[in-house]
């Protein structure tokens, strides 16, 4: 059986990749995808721990996280569509109407 540490490491890497994507990519959609990646990394951590502890309750929690992630994606996409209609761009650099 694969030890739990390996899962955690993979999850940590995924999370880090997500964070880097969030901070560096300029396209709102890709940032959104990176955030989903972070959520999935968290989910993987959860499942890995749950499995290591033999605790099935946490599969339910993973379900919840997936559902929330889906809802978040839905809202996020709607917002991206909305901003594209208004501004004709999804580039985050250009969304600086409000500042200071």
């Amino acid at each position: 059986m694969i030890p739990v540490d390996h899962y955690l490491l993979v999850a940590g890497l995924l999370f880090a990749i997500g964070v880097v994507g969030v901070l560096l990519r300029r396209n709102a959609l890709i940032v959104l995808m990176s955030i989903e990646l972070m959520l999935n990394a968290a989910n993987l951590t959860l499942l890995a721990f749950g499995r290591a502890r033999g605790d099935s309750n946490f599969q339910a929690l993973a379900f919840l996280v997936v559902a929330v992630a889906a809802a978040e994606a839905a809202v996020g996409l709607a917002i991206v569509v909305g901003i594209f209609r208004n501004r004709h761009t999804t580039n985050l650099d250009e969304l600086t109407l409000m500042k200071h």
């Binding site: 951590t45 996020g76 901003i83 208004n86 985050l92």
Partner: protein, 501 residues
């Protein structure tokens, strides 16, 4: 496992708001094309939302006596205690004010958005769940339900570029913060094997304490703290707030600044009290109290100094609401040692702050006309001459934000500082807080002097809507009443029990 109606009854406030939200949603969808007349359009949706909130308030108040002994229901996930009920009522008040403000605002700016009321109710349902959450899972679900509704509300003004930009920023930072939060929950669960706040608190007592010294546990806890600090807009997790508050339709801003923040603070109080009851044991040194103290200093100082330079009244109020989060954090710091005694002042502050801030954003919503939101402080010049009652209301609300007696804002700060001063070593924190609140008066009075001492350079055409008028009157009178007779509220608040370990 069987059906237990007693548990359902105990979660009645949540059920009422959620069901009301769904009902209003259906009502909106099946009501046909909106009547575009001048008299209210779809004011029955607002009425339905208000009735829902009234019933929910009634349910929450009805449980007050019973909740003196806290109960945990739904397998320990959902706490029913006076603390949560008090915050429920605060949330309902904030939501009701947002609903009252919305009608006139939506009509004036001609964006028909009947879902507004449903989303406010659903967001409130999320907030209620968050406040009652005695489990990290329930906390997460409540937080997300609330946040998703508010993201949509923020972007609901589809024609406004600012509104969609605000939604974008709020959403991205919010989703990022919740990803951190979920990761934190996963780490805490992984090290301790539980997500129940009471069980986490119990670990500290027993031999499980060693687990709470695991770096992974601590990192997880810090990630959770970061996720919640984002919600209350504590510096440096605050940067989304000025933009989101400025861009969102003003009634939504009122809801965000009042109810969302109140729910965030209630969660922080519950989390720290129940799960991390002994800060030094968990984090070493001052523990979370030190973290909160640093956040408090940064939050109030930066919030006030940045507010000083704003010419946009709405953005100025946004920065000011950041500063207020700093004052409440002083109360949270005091909670580390004063324990239960600090809870009453925090609750009082949340109530006072909700009324005041929702009211002041309400005046901002009121003053604008179609195509002209009049957010610059120059646009407020001469208001007192044309609309003395509104100028007086805004003055009262701003004085309350600035902490002048005898308004609610003064006592809110007074009680917080008093309990903080009772703890050794917090004197410097209180000094900084007092200095900050004295500085803050400067920018509040700037608006007052503009309203009273300058000439209007173009005519006013404010929103005329009975709901909005009612909302402003309620907020202003409430702010004054809380200041004139703070005794019974603080009395109630100090009796707020909290489900323990």
């Amino acid at each position: 496992m069987s059906f237990d109606s007693a548990q359902l009854a105990l979660s009645l406030p949540l059920l009422v708001v959620a069901a009301g939200g769904l009902l209003v949603l259906l009502l909106e969808a099946f009501s046909g094309t909106p009547a575009r007349d001048e008299h209210g359009g779809r004011s029955y949706l607002a009425v339905a939302a208000l009735i829902t909130l009234a019933i929910a308030t009634y349910a929450a108040v009805g449980q007050w006596a019973e909740a003196e002994t806290p109960k945990a229901i739904y397998g320990g996930m959902f706490a029913v205690d006076r603390f949560a009920l008090f915050v429920d009522v605060v949330l309902f008040a904030g939501a009701a004010l947002a609903v009252l403000l919305a009608g006139g605002f939506l009509r004036t700016h001609r964006f028909e958005f009947g879902e507004f009321y449903a989303l406010v109710l659903l967001g409130t349902a999320g907030a209620v769940m968050l406040v009652h959450a005695n489990d990290l899972v329930a906390l997460f679900i409540g937080l997300e339900t609330m946040s998703l509704a508010v993201y949509v509300l923020t972007g609901s003004w589809r024609r406004s570029a600012r509104s969609s930009e605000a939604a974008m920023k709020y959403f991205l930072v919010g989703a990022f913060a919740s990803a951190l939060l979920v990761y934190g929950i996963a780490l805490v669960y992984g090290t301790t094997g539980t997500t129940n706040l009471s069980s986490l608190g119990g670990l500290a007592k027993g031999t499980g304490g060693a687990v709470m010294q695991e770096p992974l546990f601590l990192i997880g806890s810090f990630l959770i703290i970061a996720g919640l600090a984002f919600k209350i807009a504590a510096v440096p997790f605050h940067m989304w707030a000025p933009d989101a508050y400025e861009g969102a339709p003003t009634p939504v801003t009122a809801f965000m600044a009042a109810a969302v923040k109140a729910a965030g603070f209630a969660t922080i109080v519950r989390l720290f009290t129940v799960a991390y009851g002994r800060p030094s044991l968990t984090f070493g040194a001052g523990g979370w109290a030190s973290i909160c103290a640093v956040l408090a200093i940064l939050t109030m100082s930066l919030g006030n100094l940045a507010a000083l330079r704003q010419d946009n009244v709405k953005r100025m109020l946004a920065w000011s609401s950041i500063a207020h989060a700093g004052y409440i954090l002083v109360g949270v710091v005091a909670m580390a040692r004063a324990g239960d005694d600090a809870r009453g002042p925090i609750l009082y502050y949340l109530l006072a702050y909700t009324l005041t801030t929702a009211g002041s954003f309400g005046v901002v919503a009121w003053i604008g006309s179609r195509g002209d939101e009049r957010q610059n402080v120059d646009d407020w010049a001469g208001l007192a001459a044309r609309h003395p009652a509104a100028a007086l209301a805004m003055t009262v609300l701003l004085l309350s934000l600035g902490g002048f007696p005898p308004t609610a804002g003064f006592f809110a700060k007074f009680y917080i500082f008093r309990v903080a001063l009772s703890q050794p070593g917090l004197i410097s924190l209180v000094l900084i807080a007092i200095a900050n609140s004295l500085v803050s008066v400067f920018y509040y009075l700037r608006v007052v002097t503009a309203m009273y001492f300058r000439e209007a350079h173009r005519p006013f055409a404010p929103v005329r809507a009975s709901g909005m008028t009612a909302g402003l009157i309620i907020a202003t009178v409430g702010t004054l009443a809380l200041g004139l007779a703070p005794g019974w509220v603080i009395e109630l608040a100090s009796k707020a029990t909290l489900l323990g370990k």
